[in-house]
Symmetry: C2
Subunit: 197 residues, 2 copies
């Protein structure tokens, strides 16, 4: 698909058909994640890949407080997604990378980092996956994991890796657009500042 | 350009020709930035756009300690870029958005946020700009602003906006690849975890 069409068509999809995914599409989504740029080429990320009903059910069990909460959830069609990918940020990889001789921050001091590039770079990988899903005629949702400890315990995630969110990916089913979209795009003149603020 | 070709060709470009940019390309880069996804459709971002030698010179003056430091800089060809775009994160917009009735975090408590989505979302916008530059046959570099206070003062940036980095964009000139690339890609089996960690 043309790049601009991918950008134009991308939207968050909140309902999926319970239909298997093309193997090549899944692997291309993961390969493109690994093509994301990263500060110092640190590549301080990891991807937990959950496929099929059993693995995805474990994810939902770990991220909702209980069955009742899950049944109350507004977008039930989300649970049919046959693929969940959790991009995780690995801060230590950045602190280690920037302690090497060519960077020289040997104290590994986090306060040198005005921006948590471990989160930003894992986010880059997430966006490349969202776009690749569109290019593969699939839909995807990126959403936060707001109680990461239960998730971390359920999947044995090491302490120095943090999920930056999760992607549900699948063949789109009809869904209700997010009510947030009613806010509309912010006006260009409010967000673009030319020459000075 | 095909989406996959854009992903494959994207790399950081560190030298530019001092040649003007097509107006439509510049505006499409900015329009695509505004198409980035954002948590709660908060769109908590802004873009400082600096074009031409005068405006970009002010940027370099504000981000290098002095002329000597600038002359010592390894990639002198970077300074010929005719366009610099600084994506800024606006955390307050997220705290305000999630204090609205449909989200309900009326205390605006930052500790609810395990991931600084204001930085991640501004990063999404940065990546869409990098990719759009490739699609427009341009090159781009994304780099950190590690002393944001001088930059902020020079351009009158409000206190509640923070740069997540900067993009230099232009027609690519021959450059030396980043030495960081010698590290190579991390092996797929080291970063992809299937079913469990």
């Amino acid at each position: 698909m043309e790049f601009q069409d991918v950008v134009r068509r991308r939207r968050m999809v909140r309902a999926f058909r319970d239909a298997p995914l093309d193997r090549d599409a899944v692997e291309r989504i993961l390969a493109n994640a690994r093509r994301a740029p990263s500060a110092g080429f640190s590549q301080g990320w990891a991807f937990l890949v959950l496929e099929g009903a059993d693995e995805t059910a474990r994810f939902w069990a770990a991220t909702f407080a209980d069955d009742a909460a899950r049944r109350r959830f507004r977008w039930q069609g989300l649970f049919a997604a046959p693929l969940i990918i959790v991009p995780l940020a690995h801060k230590s990889a950045y602190l280690d990378r920037y302690a090497e001789p060519d960077k020289g921050w040997t104290d590994r001091d986090e306060t040198r980092w005005p921006v948590p590039y471990w989160d930003v770079d894992a986010g880059f990988a997430a966006l490349l996956m969202l776009l690749t899903a569109v290019d593969a005629d699939l839909g995807a949702l990126f959403f936060g994991i707001f109680e990461p400890d239960r998730f971390r315990t359920a999947f044995g995630i090491p302490d120095d890796y943090s999920p930056v969110g999760a992607l549900a990916i699948g063949h789109p089913a009809p869904d209700e657009p997010s009510p947030s979209l009613r806010r509309g795009h912010r006006a260009a003149e409010d967000v673009i500042h030319r020459g000075r603020w």
